[in-house]
Symmetry: C2
Subunit: 433 residues, 2 copies
């Protein structure tokens, strides 16, 4: 099944906003064995929108159309789709009731406001639990055209089923085909065409090696495995390795995927830190809370970035006590008890200093773990011995202090992010016991 995604809006075509909706739609469709062959954007112009829809229904089996459903005169999607479907635009009673409920006593309902509760006559209305303009499905020249608003937050709710059918299992247990919301309808459309390939997929999260090195060690892993592909996605500073098997038999796809798992883990080795949607920041935050382990930070070049990451999850006060940001050398002495002699002898970016920073933080904060970071984030301050990108880290616990040195010849923000992630990774390894 071939889909086209059409996103509408002047601000898109002026480059004022980045089109995140199209990639969101495409990823969701791909999981349902619906291939996005075209993604098109056009301006808020009835003639251009009409032409774009005509092209789309001529080459695709399904059209996802986003934007142009609001109340203003610029919002033309309902009128254009209705005209192409050969029907009138009519008010949807449920959408109107929703609008009246939301506006009650706060905002006057004007004719302009009512523009957004219209749909093409005869359209299948999917609603909009998080907003006003309803998602609807019209048919143009036999091709289903599903129209959604352009606001990402509303789209997520419509897709994943803010209105989840009663009795559904929790989020984590849902497969791609049994979701509520629009996903369920899309799966139904796909199933109706038959010959559906099921998608079995594992996302491996890798940190500490670049994409080219990872793709090198994974080379050939899917060779000879029917329907298997491997994809790499860089989300600095980590890389996602997506192992995918497609088969009409979902169980067969899952079995072939599982059979490759061990080999992939062996090849990637210690750089693989997890699987699934949870990234390292979320993983470490969760594990600290689960294991009731307390932590403190002592940061120099990262300036608080590691502390920010360790407090990103709700409930982090259960694990994070605090930190010392010791950007100036005097502060390393005052706040952490680093010896002035050590600073003079080895410099602030040294194994000796991060050791004392971490030990000092452990003693002062009274935590189970303490992480210290000191490095040359650049662009200035590098020397031949300690070039920009040189970062020392230390992790202190009752079992002693471990250290790590990294060297990454990149930009300041990348060096700082990488250093903070290495701090997380040291905590993660400490939590392994």
């Amino acid at each position: 099944m071939r889909a086209e995604i059409l996103t509408i809006g002047d601000e898109l075509c002026r480059g004022e906003i980045v089109n995140t909706n199209s990639s969101y739609f495409a990823a969701k469709l791909w999981d349902l064995d619906i291939t996005t062959r075209w993604m098109t954007s056009c301006v808020d112009d009835a003639a251009d929108m009409t032409a774009a829809l005509e092209v789309a229904v001529s080459r695709a089996d399904l059209v996802i159309c986003s934007g142009g459903l609001g109340p203003t005169e610029d919002d033309l999607t309902v009128d254009v789709v209705a005209a192409l479907a050969g029907v009138a635009a009519v008010e949807d009673p449920a959408a109107r009731a929703n609008l009246e409920r939301r506006f009650a006593g706060r905002v006057a309902i004007t004719p302009v406001q009512l523009r957004q509760v219209r749909v093409p006559a005869g359209a299948r209305v999917h609603g909009n639990p998080g907003g006003l303009a309803p998602c609807f499905e019209a048919t143009i020249r036999g091709v289903p055209v599903i129209c959604l608003p352009g606001i990402p937050r509303e789209i997520f709710t419509i897709f994943d089923g803010g209105v989840r059918p009663a009795g559904r299992a929790a989020e984590g247990q849902r497969g791609p085909f049994d979701g509520g919301g629009l996903l369920g309808r899309l799966a139904e459309l796909r199933e109706a065409r038959g010959n559906v390939e099921r998608v079995a997929r594992t996302i491996y999260r890798v940190f500490g090696r670049g994409e080219s090195q990872i793709s090198e060690v994974c080379r050939g892993i899917v060779d000879g495995v029917p329907g298997a592909t491997i994809h790499y996605q860089v989300k600095f500073p980590e890389t996602l390795v997506k192992l995918v098997v497609r088969d009409h038999d979902g169980a067969a796809a899952a079995a072939r995927l599982a059979a490759m798992d061990g080999q992939l883990r062996t090849r990637v080795g210690g750089f693989l830190y997890g699987t699934g949607e949870e990234n390292l920041v979320e993983r470490v935050g969760r594990r600290l809370q689960d294991q009731q382990t307390t932590v403190a930070t002592a940061e120099s070049c990262t300036g608080g970035m590691l502390g920010e990451m360790l407090t990103r999850l709700p409930g982090s006060s259960r694990s994070f006590r605090g930190g010392a940001i010791t950007y100036a050398n005097d502060e390393k002495i005052r706040q952490l008890g680093v010896s002035p002699d050590t600073l003079v002898a080895h410099g602030a970016v040294s194994e000796e200093v991060v050791r004392e920073m971490a030990s000092g933080a452990l003693a002062r904060f009274g935590t189970d773990l303490a992480v210290a970071i000191s490095g040359v984030a650049g662009p200035d301050g590098g020397t031949p011995e300690k070039p920009v990108g040189t970062v020392w880290l230390a992790l202190a616990s009752a079992r002693g202090v471990t250290t790590k040195k990294i060297g990454f010849p990149g930009a300041r923000d990348l060096i700082r992010t990488l250093a903070s992630w290495w701090g997380l990774r040291m905590i993660d390894e400490a939590l392994d016991g």
Copy 2:
């Protein structure tokens, strides 16, 4: 002049990457009075790419095509464009020399590698200062088709002129029409069509009021001003207000823009913190260094986020000494000298406590300024008196302590970002004297 932007790649159509290139191109074109009417993406498939280019040259006066220029078998743009232009694909000598220079002694040059230095015969070659595959311009059915690689970093260099013509003024003094690189060529193409509208524009940066409130106070400001438009772009937590005047006479456009400046500033008032490309993080970092003012932080709910922002700019060690992340109440006492009685009497999220945090930091770090933040970031921990989103801030200096309370009923990450920006804003105001 109407442009179409065509971006090519399977990973785009699987939704694995967000298409930031299209919005980059569109914004650049808009400044040159070239209107992007269509943005299309398709997969790495010769038939689809051919069809997309045929549609594009049939409706646009200029096509920008990105992606598919690499060395692998999936990279088909050169072949497809050459076939549509009715010419052969040939090696570009300059691109080959560039590749040989870069690979010298490190990587063997294989036939696969040489695929990426080909161009359609007769194409105008614009090069690629930051990469291997050259940007080139072919003509299909009379329409210029400019092909670029898909890597953003390479695109930026090609557009803005990594190879800047000798004698050009510094970056800040360049207008949109006299840039080096591809921008110069695009301006030339636009000029050749005549009747060019010049774009005069000011970006106003507003923090502390939402988009709807700002658009309300700015209502009507462009009414009756020929060629003037106003646009709003939310970049949480700030909103950009873009005032634009287009006119064939550049000086007239600039004059009408300048005439609206005072009124806009009056209407937006104290929420307007700056103009241009510099955001609040960069502005405060720069001003602290310029004014040789030192600062320290005392953060609770933001966990280090403000410290990270204050160390984002190179050279921030000249202004930022350090900070205390005092997530636990005991740490507010130990690190900052907050009185246990104050904590018990008023709670950690209170004016009294942030006052003591800021004063304590000022004394201990010995800085000119100290900022303290304590709030309920949620989603738990809210009470009827102090709901989630309640944040107290304080700024201490030799002149005393000022405080501020904010209430923002949003998600945890938004509350923390907003709180840190308010911390920056308090520093910014203190720097005003």
